[in-house]
Amino acid sequence: MKNIALIIAVCCLVAGCATSRPIPVYQTLTASEEEQMLWRRAQEEQDAIDGSGLLYQDAEIENYLNQIAEKLQTNSISADISFQIKVIKDPKLNAFALPNGVIYIHTGILARMENEAQLAALLAHEMTHCTHRHSLKTLRNIKDRTQAKSATVRELAQLLGITGSIASINGYTRELETEADRVGLDLAVKANYDPNEVLKLFELLKQENEIEGVEEPYFLGTHPKVQQRIENVKRWLAENNRGKIKGSKNTIKFQSRMSRLMLENARLDLRQGKFFIAQSTVKKYLSVNPDDAQAYFLLGEIFRQRGWKNDAAAAINNYEKSISLNPSFAESHKAMGLIHYKDGEKRRAKKYFESCLLLSPNTADKAYIQGYLKLCAANGEG
């Protein structure tokens, strides 16, 4: 009877939220059933993410990431989990692991890293969430609490697995995160990576968070806060006397692999109006690829869209550099047209708009450009 009442009550709740799908009810969960449910939920999450258009598709980078994961897994307690590392186009400084071994890393955090040792520490941290079954522990914890007191709607939902695996996205308890830090650092060291690098990464991310005034994302993370994570790493380094031991960093290899991703992420940062971070990422990219017309165009866009005093001149310099490196790069011609058009220099604007349409007759902003050209003609610049 109790079971039927619960099923119907849950159905009512589900019906109330018209967008939710019915949820299977598991009343007597055994350990394996619980885990199976988490994995099913993880698969749903994975399907949603993989079909979202948010994946950064680059086979070379995926292979690289998976190779590092394999190297780390050699010393892991669960050699049987089949890890799969994927990248999400998102400028947030985040990474998360689903309980089924699929790990997602945001372009944001990859673009900020300096070397493979930092990446290995992050991967090892996320892999530990899987090998140490942190999702299952979280689910059981919720279940215990739910049984101990009267269940709230949210807790019921969690008990039923609605958010069980999502804990992996939103962060675990402070204790589980600390365990992932500790075990992850052990794994990174066993794979011969320099553990001191992770401290540098945390410091850099903390500094950037402060500059942009962003909320601390999960990896840094919510549990515990970034400063506490820094303390965790410092304590681990002191306890393990690792401060003086230097492992490998693989800086050059890492930077050459992440080069295009950095530029893509700078574009995403610009989209979110994070001008400072976008600018520093493009400059970092240009230090390795000094002759890239697209990068100079992007730098020009950062200045033009920010619109501070003297930014228009800086934008023009970068667009000109972009055109000098690649005269057929239509986007820079369009941007030059726009900046001159706004400045009232219709003759110059017309020249650039025309060259843009010549280079890219089906450019996405064609209708606007044609409109500007008409107005230029009406103003006697035809």
Binding site: I8, A18, S52, K274
Partner: protein, 192 residues
């Protein structure tokens, strides 16, 4: 046992039908600096504190009209609109705001072009997206800057069937859209 089951099943039905029972009227549409003609059969969901109307329910289609202060920050981008912006630049900010929204999947801009709204230069963006559950929506978004305000009118509908079904109604709303420059004077004229 039987009684309890009946009670619970009734509760299920009542909860499911909550939206149907909602009173369909245009009451509570907030006052703004604009006026529009709303076609027959459209209504405002009572629980939403927006100038939002629908015909078959908000998950199937809605028209949302907003007047927002130009300097009000957006949720997903730090970029802001400003008075000196060209419509193309304003459209760029809106696209960046939508594209940065993590609730929106497979965002795809089909068209981004200049548009005239109530005689003012603006833009129109036609785009599609998917929500987390995989439902595909299509949106036609018109916007323009006037004084210290950014006005926008958007028509959002399930891509399959509904978008085409009610696009004419939205076009009627759009063509009837007028900025009411002096509301007090207009009211006085009406009273006369």
């Amino acid at each position: 046992m039987k009684k309890l089951l009946t009670l619970l099943i009734s509760l299920l039905l009542i909860t499911s039908c909550a939206s149907v029972a909602q009173k369909r009227s245009l009451k509570d549409l907030s006052n703004n600096d604009f006026s529009v003609e709303i076609p027959e059969g459209w209504w405002k969901p009572k629980h939403l504190d927006k100038y939002l109307i629908t015909k078959d329910g908000v998950f199937l289609q809605y028209v949302l009209i907003q007047q927002r202060p130009i300097d009000r920050p957006y949720r997903n981008t730090k970029k802001k609109l400003n008075k000196g912006m060209l419509p193309q630049e304003a459209a760029g900010v809106i696209i960046d705001e939508i594209a940065s929204d993590r609730r929106i999947y497979n965002f795809n801009v089909i068209e981004n072009a200049p548009a005239i709204i109530d005689g003012r230069e603006g833009f129109k963006i036609l785009f599609t997206y998917k929500d987390k559950k995989g439902s595909i929506f299509k949106t036609l978004y018109y916007g323009f800057i006037s004084g210290d305000s950014f006005f926008n009118l958007r028509y959002n509908a399930a891509m399959r069937y509904y978008f085409e079904k009610d696009i004419a109604a939205f076009e009627h709303i759009l063509s009837s859209f007028k900025i009411v420059k002096d509301k007090a004077a207009l009211k006085f004229a009406r009273d006369l």
